[in-house]
């Protein structure tokens, strides 16, 4: 097992703060500002989870993901929300990204950190619609860019095989 950095390590504190600050951006749907926290070569992936027998050796759908994004496709998604015709988010959802279980791992390359976290997204739409939850784990690669950290890789591991959310017009 690799060993996480102690919780009082400045690198862990910075990584943790990165994730919490990001959660506030995503809750508030400040997506332009969020895009700015991603490196130009960002890879943002959310595989489709499948139920397989113990010992099958895989638990994601071969070759299939919910998200398999780069900066271009994420920018297009953000640009769409900024139009007047993105009905799915008008009225907007009320979002709360809960981030916990954060662990940070040092890399050989000191300009990079690996950060694991658990996330629960609560999403409420309209007044009486049932709210929806997505629970997932994330493994991120943060890269030092000038004086701040940016997200260079994110793998989102959903905890459900069948999502109980009408769409993923959200980011995790």
């Amino acid at each position: 097992m690799r060993k996480p950095l102690p919780f009082n390590d400045i690198r862990h504190l910075q990584a943790h703060q990165f994730l919490v600050d990001e959660a506030y951006l995503l809750d508030g749907q400040h997506y332009e500002a969020w895009l700015d926290t991603l490196t130009e070569d960002i890879r943002y992936v959310m595989p489709v989870r499948v139920t397989t027998a113990r010992g099958a050796g895989f638990d994601t759908s071969p070759g299939m993901a919910h998200f398999d994004e780069d900066k271009y496709s994420l920018s297009q998604r953000v640009a769409r929300f900024a139009t007047e015709h993105a009905w799915t988010e008008d009225p907007p959802s009320r979002l709360r990204h809960f981030i916990t279980n954060v662990r940070t791992f040092a890399c050989d390359d000191e300009t990079q950190l690996i950060v694991e976290s658990a996330e629960l997204l609560f999403r409420s739409r309209g007044d009486v619609n049932e709210s929806a939850l997505v629970s997932c784990g994330r493994e991120d690669l943060l890269r030092r860019c000038d004086d701040r950290w940016k997200l260079a890789r994110r793998t989102i591991i959903a905890d459900e095989s069948v999502l109980r959310m009408q769409n993923l017009a959200v980011f995790l």
């Binding site: 499948v50 027998a53 993901a65 919910h66 398999d68 994004e69 998604r77 640009a79 015709h85």
Partner: protein, 427 residues
């Protein structure tokens, strides 16, 4: 006119289960999902779980996923490779062709074959299983008409999506997610709703994901209906077959393979009529998409194909199963770019999809109230008050596909779909 409550009515859903899904051919999987001997996926037809497996002799089978002894599910994974399925309850085990092979304490418990003859016992096979271009369908009615007859002339259009070379299709997925919407809405929408594109999907045009500057282009396309299915098309700019296929982004080697498998009439629909398939639905709940968004930072477009199942859960909930599909002989670069194009447009994160589902959930919720029982929805688009068409149907010289086709916004296909639905649930 359509009673609004049919989109959220528990009594009708019970009838749909028994009379419609009890007798219709229902899509469960594509053969490319189980390429190797022993591969299996587990799929449902409404409440019935089936193991769809390629047995050790290469034969594709669909077996009811319930142990003959006490009824436990013998397979609880959704995909994998296995030579045997062993029931976790008492350990009865079955070969991947369904044959019962293992029965613990057979002699002690049953007195051997004297009490229970093991030979010849199998998991219950699906009453009917058939495939078309690798699409596997189950029918719960043992006396069902053959699949080819059920599909009828719609096969002409199915080929556009599922036969682009002799090698056939390969699929990835499905993505699965649940929406609080009635299953019929998506099926109808994909069958013929060109009218919603300019408005619902305005944001896609706003961000320049499509080369066509205005979604209004949609009305230049034709809708067609042939036997059990129908769909929508886009009108292509002038050109021959190759030129028009290139226009939507097919590379030349794929075009030449396509020419090798599409019939002259299928090619004429593109080359002479100038129509390119877009969305379609095969009754009852199988839909297709073919579209061609722009590649990053260029004016070049690239086509993708998606197959989707509207799996009914209840009168107000649907599980959407959405596969990405591509010709298996296509170049790897094409496959990868096409997959990315699919993810941006359709599926659980697709930008088209997001706005569609928002509408359908809202519609379903409203259809559950008492006022919806007093409202007849207008479904007469394309018809004048005396039932004459707003636009005449295309003649055989202008549209080489079978069935009825016409240019412009209309609801012929939705009406045809609803006629089949009404026929199925009322008898």
């Amino acid at each position: 006119m359509i009673p609004a409550h049919i989109y959220n009515d528990g009594d009708l859903f019970a009838l749909e289960k028994e009379r419609l899904f009890g007798r219709a051919w229902t899509f469960v999987a594509h053969e490319s999902e189980i390429p190797q001997d022993g591969d299996y996926v587990v799929r449902r037809v409404l409440d019935d779980s089936f193991i769809v497996a390629r047995d050790s002799n290469g034969q594709v089978r669909a077996m009811f996923n319930m142990c003959l002894h006490r009824g436990m599910q013998v397979c609880r994974a959704e995909m994998g490779n296995a030579s045997n399925f062993r029931c976790p309850y008492h350990g009865w085990s079955y070969r991947n062709d369904g044959r019962l092979t293992g029965l613990p304490f057979h002699k002690d418990a049953y007195g051997g074959d004297d009490g229970f003859l093991k030979t010849g016992q199998t998991l219950l096979p699906a009453p009917n299983l058939a495939s078309y271009n690798g699409l596997l369908f189950i029918n719960l009615d043992p006396n069902a008409e053959p699949l080819e007859d059920f599909l009828g002339d719609f096969r002409f259009y199915l080929d556009f999506y599922t036969k682009q070379s002799a090698a056939g299709l390969q699929v990835r997925g499905p993505q699965r997610w649940r929406i609080k919407a009635n299953w019929k809405i998506g099926a109808e929408n994909f069958a013929g709703d060109m009218y919603h594109t300019p408005h619902t999907h305005a944001s896609i045009v706003d961000i320049g994901l499509f080369r066509e500057p205005k979604a209004q282009k949609r009305k230049d396309g034709a809708t067609y209906w042939a036997h059990r299915g129908g769909g929508t098309t886009y009108k292509l700019p002038p050109g021959g077959f190759e030129e028009r296929m290139r226009y939507v982004g097919y590379p030349d080697d794929m075009i030449s393979r396509i020419k090798g498998v599409w019939t002259p009439r299928q090619q004429q629909m593109v080359a002479e009529d100038g129509f390119m398939i877009s969305a379609a639905t095969c009754f009852p709940n199988l839909s297709f998409v073919h579209n061609w968004p722009k590649l990053p930072g260029s004016e070049q477009v690239l086509p993708f194909i998606s197959i989707r199942l509207w799996q009914p859960i209840s009168e107000n909930e649907t599980e959407v199963c959405s596969w990405f599909a591509v010709d298996s002989a296509a170049p790897e670069d094409f496959k990868n770019d096409s997959y990315k194009a699919y993810l941006m447009c359709f599926g659980s994160t697709g930008m088209f999809e997001q706005d569609d589902v928002e509408n359908w959930v809202s519609l379903t919720t409203t259809a559950g109230g008492s006022m919806a029982r007093r409202l007849l929805l207008n479904s007469r688009m394309g018809l004048l008050s005396d039932d004459r068409p707003v636009v005449e149907a295309l003649g055989a010289e202008a549209f080489h596909g079978p069935g009825r086709a016409q240019v412009g916004y209309n609801e012929y296909n939705q009406r045809e779909w609803l006629k089949l639905w009404a026929g199925a649930v009322s008898a």
